[in-house]
């Protein structure tokens, strides 16, 4: 593509954006001559350049559009929405042609006769069904024409009939409507003042940059610079900053140095240089907003609403890299506000509002951030509708949803897979929703929140960093290593200790911090990063620890570190591709003392933290956020062990998935063990001991029970599926519960208990010992399905309970009536009618009146029932803790 053409493309893209915006403005203020002149001039420029470059198709469309605009300008034609729509349509056609030109270097085949005909028809016959379209024209080639001539020639009466006078010898064709012959041109040129403007001499730094000003173009003293040059410059300044920091550090350590003064000066200059270079990368946010008026206009037409878009703070500047990344989310949010925020004129009148809604877009600086607010004066959010929808979609369970505050419910619209639009419209609700917006904003280290007031409107608040290249970071230490935590995610620092205001407490083995009436889960950074060479636990026996309170999305947690140093401005450098798979890091940086430290990715740390603390749940959700919540389905982990066919095990039983180095396996008397999190973990392979790898990485399913841990090695972890599981219990081989059809394949479902016993015959005993101080308590398990009998009963016995199994309620009642005493009754509540009756019977019976009652369900989101809360059968932790809690409560009551 030659330079001339690429220059044309860049300029045209700029002009088209401006025209879009200006036209919408013009439509609402048809008397604003300055706006119209500006539009006309831009279209004219495009047209002229096309002619010069030999782009007939573009020229023709642009010309027809220009003619129609000319009519507007002369007042010959009334400005109607239809007419403007037609002009916009022609602009879209130009954009498409330009797009094609850009990718192929040539105009596409075909013609635009139909569009041009409509444009001409509109300019000749006035607001008929169609509208004209603006045509680009270049002042460079074609001298500007007196428009009076245009209208004469295009006069509605003589145009269709009187062809003769329009035949132009020089062109060898009929003149188009509005076109003038060269002879006329000559005459016009001699008699009229020349064109007022030569617009296209104005260079800009970037195609995205707004083309000069609102109305009258000013000849800017600017120069186009390739973005790569700016990036290089930025990199070099970053290096300079680092070197400067290094020097400062060296001099800081000496009391008197002759370098002090010049270094101070160097430091200042560097700072200014840095600021200057940063500025070259800055662009006003308005350039990301240019498309929005058009979008709002089109949306309001499509939706039959009246919406005004007010913009404030267009000149707020931010890094162009950031700017690029927020364009799409912003567009989506504006569409969303049009579609869901602003009501229809009728609805608005009914609630006593003016029939035109307003969307306010504001941007301003706050600290090192930019705040963007998108607010509408619509109906606000329908809290109950969202709550209901979230339950339906399985985003939260019913109990959780009911306990949420309105604000928390509102935030659910950011949850993945959530979209409240009752019908899918053209405007929004394409399945990607606010969750995508949220993800994109969080990717650049930003945050999003919303405020909604019923009947008064909704405001979205986005907070994004000014730049991604230099961030403020908190330097923390683990043992000998230091890491940088982006300040944006750091909420506060807390020093804990038994003697201090903030104490670390424990639930089972999980550490939490009570902080202003909230429980904050604690995650040790050393655990997340698997650093074991530190000096013991991050929280010492007196509860002393440094806790960095982090906020990642909706997740707030405390990160326990050994040391906290200071805050530094750091230059983010990407890590090698080899390390980009490690989600815990987002980059590296060089500190003032010359050492390299890694920058932690708060998102990755949060996710890793979840798997350290919360078992495998987060993995399941990563696999497929939808699947965990579907009715009657069980999450199953698919893996391969000995042979190619998949095997499965309920995911709820697995505590963690690990990949350990096979070289770290040790063979002891009782079998293979491996050091794992400071303990020896017995290791068995699901396909027999010989299948253990001797080198490389060995995938392992880790099962946890009380104090004991066991690892079941597999060949390969395949997938996590969520399916209804119909287990055929035909298979008699040891270690296999049965066969189920999963993902269309026959899959052996393994008997976890079998492997647990194989790896550690004392498994159940060991667990018993932990609970040993309490008398063994008896539990009645009412469960019809053999699979769940097999799954739950070893689990309960392993936890130290004496388990009796009843196949159904009747059998259970027989057992109760026969006088057997039970401390707890666990029953399937999926058949709610029988469950309620059963609950009554249990209560009436003397031997079980005091027994704790727990309902279990094969569904993940079952409603509470007569048997109390219902717990998913696959969630062993929940079941055990509920049982424990219920028994304790009963103990107190007795």
């Amino acid at each position: 593509m030659d330079d001339l053409l690429s220059e044309f493309l860049t300029e045209t893209a700029e002009s088209l954006e401006v025209i879009d915006t200006e036209l919408v403005k013009f439509e609402s203020q048809p008397n604003d001559e300055a706006t119209l002149n500006n539009i006309f001039r831009l279209v004219h420029t495009i047209k002229g350049t096309c002619g010069f470059l030999g782009l007939p198709r573009l020229e023709a469309v642009a010309h027809a559009g220009e003619t129609l605009l000319g009519k507007f300008r002369d007042g010959a034609l009334e400005v109607t929405p239809d007419a403007v729509t037609l002009v916009l349509e022609s602009l879209d056609q130009i954009k498409e042609l330009v797009g094609h030109l850009e990718s192929t270097g040539a105009e596409p085949d075909g013609d635009d006769a139909e569009l041009i005909a409509r444009l001409e028809d509109m300019s000749i016959n006035g607001p008929a069904p169609s509208t004209p379209k603006p045509a680009p024209a270049a002042a460079v080639v074609e001298p500007e024409v007196d428009l009076a001539h245009d209208s004469d020639l295009a006069d509605a009466d003589d145009e269709p009939i009187d062809r003769g006078p329009n035949w132009d010898e020089a062109l060898g064709r009929e003149l188009r409507p509005g076109e003038v012959s060269l002879a006329d041109l000559e005459a016009a040129f001699n008699s009229v003042d020349g064109p007022a403007d030569i617009e296209n001499a104005k260079p800009a730094e970037d195609p995205d940059k707004p083309a000069g000003g609102d109305n009258v173009p000013v000849v800017n003293q600017t120069i186009r610079v390739n973005v790569d040059v700016l990036e290089d410059l930025m990199t070099m300044v970053s290096e300079l900053v680092l070197t400067r920091n290094q020097l400062l550090q060296m001099v800081r350590n000496t009391d008197e140095s002759e370098f002090k003064t010049p270094l101070q000066r160097l430091s200042n200059i560097t700072a200014e240089l840095q600021e200057g270079v940063m500025k070259t990368r800055m662009q006003p946010i308005g350039s990301a907003w240019k498309k929005l008026p058009r979008i709002v206009r089109d949306a309001s037409n499509d939706l039959g609403k009246k919406i005004n878009l007010m913009m404030d703070g267009e000149n707020t500047e931010l890094d162009r890299q950031v700017l690029d990344l927020i364009k799409d989310p912003l567009t989506h949010m504006i569409r969303n506000s049009c579609d869901h925020g602003v009501e229809t004129p009728d609805e608005r009148k009914a609630s006593g509002k003016p029939d035109a809604g307003t969307i306010n877009l504001r941007a301003y600086h706050e600290g090192g951030h930019i705040i963007i607010e998108v607010s509408d004066d619509g109906a606000g959010l329908k809290t109950e509708r969202i709550r209901q929808k979230a339950i339906e979609k399985g985003v939260v369970d019913a109990a959780e949803a009911l306990s949420m505050s309105d604000r928390e419910v509102h935030r659910l619209i950011f949850a993945p897979g959530f979209s409240t639009a009752a019908k899918v419209t053209n405007i929004s609700g394409r399945g990607v929703g606010m969750d995508v917006v949220k993800t994109n904003i969080e990717l650049i280290g930003g945050a999003i929140d919303l405020r909604a007031i019923q009947g008064e409107g909704t405001t979205f608040i986005i907070k994004i960093p000014l730049t991604l290249a230099i961030i403020s970071a908190l330097i923390v230490g683990i043992g000998e290593d230091r890491f940088a935590l982006p300040q944006l995610s750091v909420v506060e620092l807390v020093r804990t200790g038994d003697e201090r205001e903030h104490k670390v407490e424990k639930i089972n083995d999980t550490q939490v911090l009570r902080l202003r009436d909230r429980l904050l889960p604690l995650v040790a950074l050393s655990d997340v990063l698997n650093i074991t060479d530190g000096e013991g636990p991050a929280v010492d026996e007196n509860g002393n620890a440094f806790v960095v309170v982090m906020q990642v999305g909706d997740n707030r947690f405390g990160l326990v570190v050994d040391e906290v140093f200071d805050t530094e401005e750091i230059v983010v450098k990407p890590l090698t591709k080899m390390l980009q798979g490690v989600r815990e890091y987002s980059g590296a940086t060089i500190l003032g003392d010359g050492s390299v430290i890694l920058i932690l990715d708060p998102n990755g740390v949060s996710k890793a933290g979840a798997s350290v603390e919360g078992g495998v749940q987060s993995v399941a959700q990563e696999g497929d956020a939808q699947m965990t919540y579907q009715d009657d389905k069980t999450s199953l982990l698919l893996f391969r062990a000995g042979g190619m066919e998949p095997r499965a095990c309920p995911l709820g039983l697995v505590t963690r998935l690990e990949e350990l180095d096979a070289e770290s396996f040790e063979v002891s008397q009782t079998g293979t063990v491996v050091q794992y999190r400071g303990k020896l973990m017995p290791l068995v392979h699901a396909a027999g001991p010989h299948a253990l790898k001797t080198e490389g990485r060995q995938p392992i399913l880790v099962f946890n029970q009380g104090e004991s841990v066991i690892g079941v090695a597999v060949d390969e972890i395949l997938d996590i599926v969520n399916e209804r599981m119909n287990v055929e219990l035909a298979d008699a081989s040891p270690g296999v519960l049965g066969t189920a059809v999963l993902k269309g394949k026959a899959t052996q479902v393994i008997d976890v208990a079998y492997y647990l016993n194989q790896g550690d015959p004392d498994w159940a005993d060991a667990a018993n010992k932990v609970e040993g101080e309490i008398d063994t308590r008896s539990v009645l398990l009412v469960e019809t399905h053999p699979f769940f009998q097999n799954m739950l009963s070893p689990l309960l016995s392993a936890a130290g309970y004496n388990v009796s199994i009843a196949e159904d309620e009747r059998a259970a009642l027989r057992m109760i009536e026969s006088g057997a005493r039970f401390d707890a009754v666990i029953a399937d509540v999926d058949q709610s009618v029988t469950a309620a009756r059963f609950a009554e019977a249990v209560e009436r019976s003397e031997s079980t009146a005091n027994a704790a009652r727990i309902g279990v369900s094969s569904r993940q989101d079952a409603e509470p029932t007569a048997l109390g809360q219902s717990i998913p059968k696959s969630d062993r932790h929940a079941l055990l803790s509920a049982l424990d809690y219920a028994l304790k409560m009963r103990g107190h009551a007795a």
């Binding site: 290593d481 698997n530 490690v582 890091y585 390299v596």
Partner: protein, 150 residues
């Protein structure tokens, strides 16, 4: 008769050679920052004249076990690949040696597969064997943190 210049070095007692054109730098790595959670082949990251360089432990890469002690005297070969800088940590740097191309012999068939994947061939020197290292393959540390390591 064409010949190639090699930089020679030793890893775990074995003499290796890398084409001079591939080697940008030879330096003594100081203060390598370890990268927890990364593969054992990655010794860490370090600052080489203002650039962040990823250090690859050649011993670990060749399956010789990660170097734990004796961090002090090691040397590193600076290599550029795909616009990124790497430092290959070796035991000792040797000399620059010009060797005839036609005396290069194919890898012995019984060579360890990891070694075979990074070796281009073997030169028989008077007193020992020199393995010609394919630096590109050496840096191809694959399958990083894949799978479901939670």
């Amino acid at each position: 008769m064409s010949s190639t210049e090699y930089v020679t070095f030793t890893i775990g007692g074995q003499l290796f050679g890398a084409e001079v054109s591939n080697v940008h730098d030879v330096f003594a790595p100081s203060s390598i920052t370890p990268v927890p959670m990364a593969r054992p082949e990655i010794a860490g990251v370090l600052n080489l004249r203002g650039r962040i360089v990823t250090a690859i432990d050649a011993r670990a890469r060749l399956g010789l076990g990660r170097r734990d002690e004796d961090q002090s005297n090691v040397m590193a070969i600076g290599v550029e690949q795909d616009g990124e800088s790497f430092g290959l940590i070796i035991d000792q740097i040797g000399e620059v040696m010009r060797l005839e191309n036609d005396t290069l012999e194919a890898n012995p068939v019984n060579l360890d597969p990891i070694w075979a994947s990074v070796a281009k061939g073997v030169h028989r020197l008077n007193d020992k064997l020199l393995v010609v290292m394919d630096i590109g393959r050496m840096l191809a540390v694959e399958g990083l943190e894949d799978g479901l390591a939670a």
